[in-house]
Amino acid sequence: MAEKKPTGTVLVAGAGISGIKAAIELAEVGYKVLLTDASTQIGGILAKLDYQFPTDHCGMCRMLPMVGREYSSQYCMRKSLFHENIEIMPFAEIQAVHGDAGNYKVDLLKRARYVDPSLCNELEECIAVCPVEVADEFNHGLTKRRAIYQAIPHNTPKMLAIDMQACTSCGECVKVCTSGAINLEAQDEMETREVHSIILASGVKLYNTREFEDAKSYAVSPDVVSSLAFERMMSSSGSYRDGEIKRPSDGKPAKNIAWIQCMGSRNRRQKRDYCSSICCMFALKEAVLAKEKGGPGVESTIFYMDMRTFGKGFQQYRDDAVEKHGVNLIRCRVQGVMKKPDGALEIRYFDPETNEFFIKEYDLVVLSTGQIPYETHKKWADLLNVGLDSRGLLATEEYSKIRLAGKPGLFICGSLMGLTDVSEAMSSGIAAAGEATKFLCGIGADTVKEEEIPEPTANERELSQVSVALCKCGEKPGAEGIDYALLSAELQKYHSVGEVQIVESFCKDNGETAAVDILSQTKCNRLLIGACQPFMYRQNLKNVARKAGFNSSLVEVFDLFGIARQGMTQPSIKEWTMRAAHEVRADIEKLNFKPALHVSALPINQNALVVGGGFGGMQSALSLAIRGVPVHLVEKDGQLGGYLGNNVEATVDGLAPMAKAQDMQLKVYQNKNITVHLNCEVESTVGTLGSFESKLVYKDSGETSYLHHGAVIMATGGHEGATTEYGLGTSDLVMTQGQLKKGLASGDIDVSGTENIVMIQCVGSRQKEGRRYCSRICCMWAIANALKIKEKNPDARVFILYRDVMTYGFYEQYYSKARTAGIIFMNYSLDNKPQMEMVEGKPVVKFMDTVLNEEIELTADLLVLSTGVDPEESNNKLASAFKVGLNDDGFLAEADSKWRPIEFQQVGLYLAGTAHSPMPLKSVIMQAEAAAQKAYAYLSGREVHTAGVVSKVKDAHCIRCQRCVNICPYGARSYDDMENCISVDPAACQACGMCAVECQNNAAEVAGWTDKQLFAVIDAKLMDDLLLSPVE
């Protein structure tokens, strides 16, 4: 008998969003994940952010897998995370790691919380009696907390802990705790776990002005806060109230607010010659929000050096911030903040627009504090016995941001790669999960096999009768608040209720068997379970119900304790019980009228189609192929490699795209799972989710073929943009950066005798007409070319005329390198663009130097233009074939710009690389890995299950007006011309119910959300004859 394969287990160290994303992606494939975090809670930085770019609202739940949407509100990520394959271990630190790839033993120090969450009844009486008050670090000291506290106020279930440093051990909390959850004598514990692979997602430390050397110049008052603290000032669970931003020192409204960028970043003096990447967008968002949330008259001013709006949609956001919201941007790094006797904060600055000095007073100053990566990296390097690179960062493989060099099975993601925005945190989390999955596949680790409990069929003709089962919840004394006998008697009065059962405990092991016994005996055909924390136990409870013979769609769970408590302060047991009886009526009625739902499984074709043979395409194809997925790689040109692989010999960070592309091509052609289609484009696609049929057209021969596939990754890439500005094409002395790069590499362009080389950045970019976006790579390209020129001819003078130098993150070092090499960077503004005229055959560039405030004239021997990156035109055809969107700039529009950057609204469709937006090579490869992982997870499911809650067509009522087809946001509905009927793709339908509203005679209906159910719920809600008493 073959040895049973072990279940793949991964430790994800760090439960910020990238770690959570990695954990979810692994858990969805079926691996076991241990998710640890050093803090008492999960959520990382994002737990503090109520508002996220670009819509400025919270969207964390969008990172959840797209299943079980009906219940997803219970999964609000701000509260917590629940997945059967994820074990969450907060407040735990990794002490030591032994063993090697595929066989790690990790010593974890589990810090004592002093409150056992499994016993805690969450009444929080302990908090009320705690006499110790200290500053609440979650709110950056803006509010106070007790020594016994809940770190993140909105976390559910509550996870209290005692801050032993503050605790006086007075024992008051122990006295009031009726559940014995508090143990002041608790000790830290050590635990050793065995895992196959480790993903580091710890994030990095952030610069703290009070801790570092700038404190004396900037942090001169409590009204100078960090950008994260400002987020808490804007949050209703922080200090934001009554539509005012209150300054910490005296609670007065802050009207004039300044942001100072690059605190602790881009600072050679402090040995931090890097950019923290996210602070510019962070400050822009905060500045806009301040104006929106702070009431009328709020002025937002940002002092910056370069406004680094390099990502997708960033430039648009910046333009809106300035033009629509009136945020002031001033290019000046200020020397400090002075506190005036009246508490006002004075800043003196030089405004390059007017060339004058100003002294202004502010109520509040926000410091955009960046990352402090070295400590964290050093700590991991020591723990894992891996090397640091020359910068002092964990060394990753040359072309990967994820794989630690020379350490298979060890990966990093999120802000350990350098501070990342949400989108990149998501991509990197998925990519890290992808790398771990590849690794686990490689060592033969298995996935968790789900125990299939057969679904009992429902007899739909039976009259409905609801059985209510109430969980007494065993030992949790909180349940004492309900009089079960009374509740049971009240519920029995409802006509729809057949029986009321009381179960000791559903969630305990023996409780489950007992529950199954009780439930099997009922004559009812619908079951409503009242228990605590339904979002945690829903799946389990449904399984219990199935075992007892209920069709799971006819089983609902409600929060017995939460439901009654809302709006009641200090209710008597009777009041509480009566309220519960009343509140649950709506759930009973909704279930009473609920039809049985049927889930069907559609097989997924196991082929993957990858469109685009550049780095993104090749990487995703290879990544899938080595996991055994048959891949068809379609490339519109005659060879693989894409723009980068065929045109660029070297990048500024020392990569060699052309050589790498050769290497990858070889691997692609050698892999028997990959079929390459050259000179080929996808013409059109038919079919439904899981089973597409794409028509491929071969350009040379005009032949067509049809390909069946289950998933598609769109990696169409891009190419260098074109321009008619600055005489490009009219003189040999004017060229693009791409042309220069090629010419320098081939030797066709000789710079040995060249005196002056002028480069103009952002030609046709970041402006209303033309490319509205930043192409992200041009600054790096210009720097690479300039350095190359300096290498060949140190006497050449290179001038780079720029608007903002976009060397974000650790690319900053190349900007520094360029300056020290004598390359001269001169700033120009969009309303004063450089002008060029040919004088005696040479381009003469004139522009206004914003430093000297003088018109400068440069006679160039070479004029080099950064013309940006354009998307491929084939995106249009692809988008219409797969019914996905394009943004205004012609790039593919992902499902959600922050939380779902790799996928489209419909499952099975993914994107990677420059098809998404321009990005550097390593980011392309990371996204490709992520897309491959998403596709792999999808394909390995073998079947796509339609949600039971899905829109239906009652054909007898349908008049084929097709309004539902028109209104469906997912293209899930279509009119079948041949059959003359409306059909619904059940896998594409997300049950939003818009069709049901649009259809006037209810021919379109969402099963589980029918009018009949909703009517009954409305009836129940309005049957309230209890005396209402307002609770303030």
Partner: protein
């Protein structure tokens, strides 16, 4: 420049003259069939579908009656098209309803030659019988009505017609003009190229435009608009609360005839007769318990209000709802006053253009900020 043909006729020969035209377009292959109001023997005029040129003799397009909205017939004929060309002779309100039905994919105009007639109003079906019994003809009606005398004895044209500001049809290929054509003549106007081709094929003689027509139409519209506004103001004042609305609807027996007759209530089966509204005894008892009593059949106001939400944006004001009510509830002003508000809200006008998107089918990100009162 529109093309006109003048049809002069001797007394009692209007329909004979018109039938010549319809005969012509059928015989000469401009269309394969004609849908037009036709006399049913001596009593009654109904839309009929004629495929044989020999049978066009009974046409009576200007008969002041529309027992069933022609839009519904247009839908029956073209929702699942025959592939044959049909000329449809319809009233302006019917055409406007047809335009809405096109957008709702219930009418397909590809093979339709749309002929709109000038409408001076219609009698209720039973009144028309009386009208005929009293010797009334289309000719006499046209003459009297143009002189402002629509009433005959104790009956008058439908309330909807009196306040209808669309006596002339749009979105058509050909127009049968009576207003301002003078006594003893009607005109046929070709509005589109398609209409012109048909007119030429019919064999009638091309001539001049009726001189006083535009002025006459304008005057009529002004009179009706004024009447409309007066009616709206009256009705709104009468029903400015639910109590009053309830009283208006007190005779309603939930027969749903109003929605059967409504040309833009296009559902196969009204949701109010589906399972969604088949309540259980328990539910009735529960509702009765609430206030101590429950009117039966119930859901009356629910039905009418729901109908308003469903059709007010499409309402063309034809008044078929009032005509259809077996208990003489004058429903037309109820729907028209709401339609007036809702269509104005979305700058929409039912029946104006096939190109105009129905408001509930779309949205703009930057609109209606007043609804939430929240910025951004």
């Amino acid at each position: 420049m529109a093309t006109f043909a003048k049809l002069s006729f001797n007394k009692d020969e209007l329909n004979k003259e018109l039938s010549g035209f319809f005969k012509g377009i059928l015989e000469n292959g401009a269309v394969d069939a004609v849908l037009a109001p036709m006399a049913q023997g001596k009593k009654g005029v109904r839309l009929s579908l004629v495929t044989s040129a020999a049978n066009t003799g009974a046409v009576d397009p200007f008969a002041p009656v529309a027992a069933v909205s022609g839009a519904k017939i247009a839908s029956s004929l073209t929702a699942r098209p025959s592939g044959r060309k049909v000329a449809m002779v319809l009233r302006p309100c019917e055409i406007r309803a047809t335009v809405e039905l096109v957008k709702l994919k219930q009418v397909n105009l590809d093979d339709v030659l749309m002929i709109g007639m000038d409408c001076l109003g219609r009698y209720e079906n039973t009144d028309f019988t009386k009208f005929q019994e009293q010797g009334g003809t289309s000719e006499s009606f046209l003459d009297n009505a143009q002189a402002g005398k629509t009433a005959t004895g104790d009956f008058d044209v439908a309330g909807a017609c009196k306040i209808c500001e669309f006596p002339a049809a749009d979105n058509i290929d050909l127009r049968l003009c009576a207003i301002g054509s003078g006594s003893g003549a009607v005109h046929i106007e070709a509005v589109t190229e398609k209409g012109k081709a048909a007119l030429e094929k019919s064999g009638v003689k091309i001539g001049d435009a009726p001189a006083g027509r535009d002025e006459a139409v304008k005057k009529l519209v002004a009179v009706r608009t004024e009447a409309r506004d007066k009616k709206f103001a009256e009705f709104r004042a009468e029903t400015d609360n639910f109590q009053a609305l309830g009283e208006k609807l007190s005779a309603c027996i939930n027969c749903y005839n109003c929605r059967v007759a409504c040309p833009v209530c296009y559902c196969k089966e009204c949701v109010f007769v589906t399972d969604t509204f088949r309540h259980t005894g328990d539910q009735f008892m529960m509702w009765a318990d609430k206030g101590g009593l429950l009117k039966m059949p119930n859901d009356t106001m629910f039905y009418h209000l729901t109908r308003i939400t469903h059709m007010s944006l499409f309402c063309v004001g034809c008044g078929q709802c009032t005509s259809a009510c077996p208990n003489d509830i004058d429903l037309m002003p109820l729907f028209r006053t709401s339609a007036d508000k809702t269509q104005a809200k979305f700058s929409y006008q039912a029946g104006r253009s096939v190109e105009e998107e129905q408001p509930m089918a779309g949205f703009e990100a930057d609109e209606l900020f007043e609804v939430t009162g929240q910025a951004k």
